[in-house]
Symmetry: C2
DNA sequence: CAGTGGTCTAGACCACAAA
DNA sequence: TTGTGGTCTAGACCACTGA
């Protein structure tokens, strides 16, 4: 048995919701019924329901039943959700342009954030990201080079997380983000097609692997009038 | 029995951690031992552990044990944590100055965000918030007046959430926040002691009660060079 | 009232970590 | 190999909701 039963049930119920077998706002069958349908004990069934509740997909109401929630809550939290996903969920087409891709020595802040030595190399990438071909974000990402030296440029620049998890055997751990504001300098103004002095939302992100080693430091600036972060709790 | 057993155990273990009976990074006793100590089944004990894990207080390691986590993760998420709490946790002294407190008709955006009618009254409060007497944030909060008409000005302006939950019998539900950027206009510049055109972090927040009625709409502007939001996941 | 989710028991077997 | 957390069972009684 590869997957635990409660995960299988979780996935089945999720599919049933996607396939509109259970519709938004509607009540799903009672726990005792579902338990008997899946041939598991009620505790196991409840474990499946619990994970769906944690994802914001189901909502329990005491004495009344379990309902399909209207909101897809959790995943709107930024950071875990990539620019690509956010843009797509807004019904826009994401794209990006790689401005530079260099193996070099770390800056002071990179050294500190990535907890590496002067002698280590880093890979630094600059990008502009677009939604429907309108520039939204200028982004600099830095990665300790030894972590990715065996991957191709394309594997790194187009889907770093996936490459690291699937081909590198690494697991992503925690993410820390700082969000602030700044005004566009000349370089940012040019790259993002705004005037110098226009407001930008700034984001710094340090991502760690599950072994607590930092593997990525990102500094990004978003055009405030074209982008904002949304959080739901 | 007022509180469920697993909540009591949750609280007891939390106290034990606060009292350094279990220290950060250390392993706590095994589930079977704790279950027997508290005279409950292992499933019940696990439920208590689970809630502590969800709060980021404990960390399970398969095959090894359950450990006291070093990070107090969850609560750094902004919004749930008030300005007061954030400032205190930075070791600074929070204060605030109420600039205005008026019962009036809603603006267009207030009407929309709070889902109320033209004929309803709202309570609108303007504040500047300080950390160590340095102005950090200018904030306008709007509340449907009927929700708070029976409370005193002090109960509303100094601890709204507490008043609503303890004296109003309401329960806070979801919170949606949007974070962006802007530049200071003349009014903001004067109130926050910055120059016009300086970058501000903007936040809009709509808070709902557990019955899905919006009860608060807040627009806040933070001086970017003195404040940033931090998120950990 | 009947039906629902919330809590709880006293076991069981498994996979994984560390010695 | 021993001890740990992960999963699971087949019941039980409770408090709450809604007709």
């Amino acid at each position: 048995m590869q997957e635990p039963m409660y995960i299988k049930i979780h996935n089945q119920i999720k599919r049933d919701i996607e396939n509109k077998k259970y519709k938004v706002g509607e009540r799903i069958p009672a726990e005792r019924q579902l338990a008997s349908k899946f041939n598991v004990s009620r505790m196991t069934l409840r474990q499946a329901i619990k994970t769906l509740e944690d994802e914001g997909i189901l909502e329990r109401r005491l004495g009344s039943g379990t309902y399909v929630s209207s909101q897809k809550v959790q995943e709107k939290m930024s950071g875990i959700m990539s620019f690509t996903d956010i843009t797509r969920s807004n019904g826009q087409v994401p794209s990006s342009k790689l401005l530079s891709y260099r193996i070099t020595k770390p800056s002071l802040s990179e050294k500190e954030k990535l907890k590496i030595q002067d002698t280590d190399n880093v890979l630094r990438m600059e990008r502009v990201r677009f939604a429907d071909n309108v520039p939204i974000c200028y982004e600099v990402a830095t990665i300790p080079y030894e972590l990715v030296s065996r991957f191709s440029k394309d594997e790194i620049s187009s889907s770093l997380y996936q490459t690291l998890e699937e081909k590198g055997g690494y697991k992503i751990g925690s993410v820390v983000e700082n969000i602030g504001a700044a005004v566009a300098n000349e370089n940012e103004a040019r790259l993002l097609s705004v005037k110098k002095g226009e407001p930008l939302v700034t984001r710094r992100q340090v991502t760690e692997l599950s072994n607590h080693y930092p593997f990525e430091y990102v500094r990004a600036s978003y055009v405030a009038e074209r982008f904002e972060f949304t959080f739901e709790k």
